[in-house]
Amino acid sequence: MESLVIPHTDDTPYVNLDIEKGFFVLENCSFPEDAAGFYTPILEALKSYLAMAPKSFTCEIKLKYFNTSSAKQLLQLFEIIRQISGHCTTTVTWFYDKGDKDMQQAAERYSRLSGVVIVTKEN
């Protein structure tokens, strides 16, 4: 399996799934019209990688905005992470801009709904 790197566009985030380092990041903005179309291959790659039972896994979310159709995709991302969190050391950090309560609350919601521990950090 190879690492996956997708450069960001005006409406889709920078994606990096680095299988050497056991690292995954989503950065910038996410508001494509067809969020499922954008995220499906990424979530598939992540599933395949996590099925290889890595010893540790780090996930960083550094999104400035995401639309409601990306919201559902993000929940799926955390559900995939939850499935492996019992078998490997998982660290999930959600970065948000100073004072951005909406984004902070979004992280708390995902943690509550998926059962994944998400550390929030103000930029």
């Binding site: 969020a35 639309n67 409601t68 159709s69 919201a71 559902k72 801009d97 951005d100």
Partner: protein, 350 residues
Amino acid sequence: MQELGLEYLYCGHFTLNLTESILSFAENKLVKNEETGKVNKKTYFIMVESLQNITRHQKEQDKEGFFALQKLNENTVITSGNYISAEEVNPIKEKIEKINSLTTDELKNYYMETLQLNSLSDKGGAGLGLIEMARKSRNKLVYDFVMINPEYHYFYFQTNICSNVNNSVCPNTITQVKEIHEKISEAKIKLMYQGLFSQESLLEFIKMFENTEHSKSELSIQKKNIHILIELLQNISLHGLSLNNNKNEKPGIYTVGGDKNICIFTTGNFIENNKIDTVKNKIDYTNSLNSLELEELYDKTLLNPPKESIKGAGLGFIDMRLKTHSKINYCFDPINDSTSFFTVQLSIVQ
């Protein structure tokens, strides 16, 4: 406004960045020939000149400029508006009158003479802009002055470009545009676009919005504004009814208004009458909930999105209510037996 063919209108302070984003939007959307996909160079040139006239003569921050683009059959009508000092009124009037009195050949000579004189005015222009606008539009320049106070006048300037070279009819819409300007100023509307919506135009509107006065709010509010803007405009491009079978572009309307204390977004699109009840019930229900209930509904919808909203996640209205802490205003205006026009309005405290 529909009869006036108003496609784009902005009223407020024109920064360089805003002007650039208007021009980029114009290039991609407003002055493109729908059939050939080519940008109408003459129209683009006149837009650049009109916008430069506004920024060049813009005095203080509070002296608002105005820009409007209309499409009337074969004509594109561009109107600019800006404050000028009282002593500038007569020289401008004389210059325009002179240009309007000349024939095509005379205008060409006048252009060469002015170019050779090279007497740059203290604002950086040489009056060449006006001559070029007259030459490129092949129409008379239209203008009007409104006295604001003994010191300042408001200068309206209109250019008319006809895509049909054999047509010399020049609709003068300055009176109606002035009325619209007055109305939108009263309603505190800063920007209006009426036309086709797509993801591409959403990106342009975000850039444009980031260059308006609401971008001065604190970062978290700015992001909230953009968030709502994205959801509203994607509602048009995802759920709006396309009238000409082009599924990627949906007709609609978008306005931004308010002041430094409030940002008001209004969007409108066509909707099939048989969908009205579902949408109405959804908004009414969302409006009836308090914050806690909205949070619960958001969680529930995120976990189990309802089937009827396959295109979106069904979260849009809940998200807007949660983020704005205000009710969603809406109305449905019947168009015919099968179609209505659906308008949504959201206010965000800055």
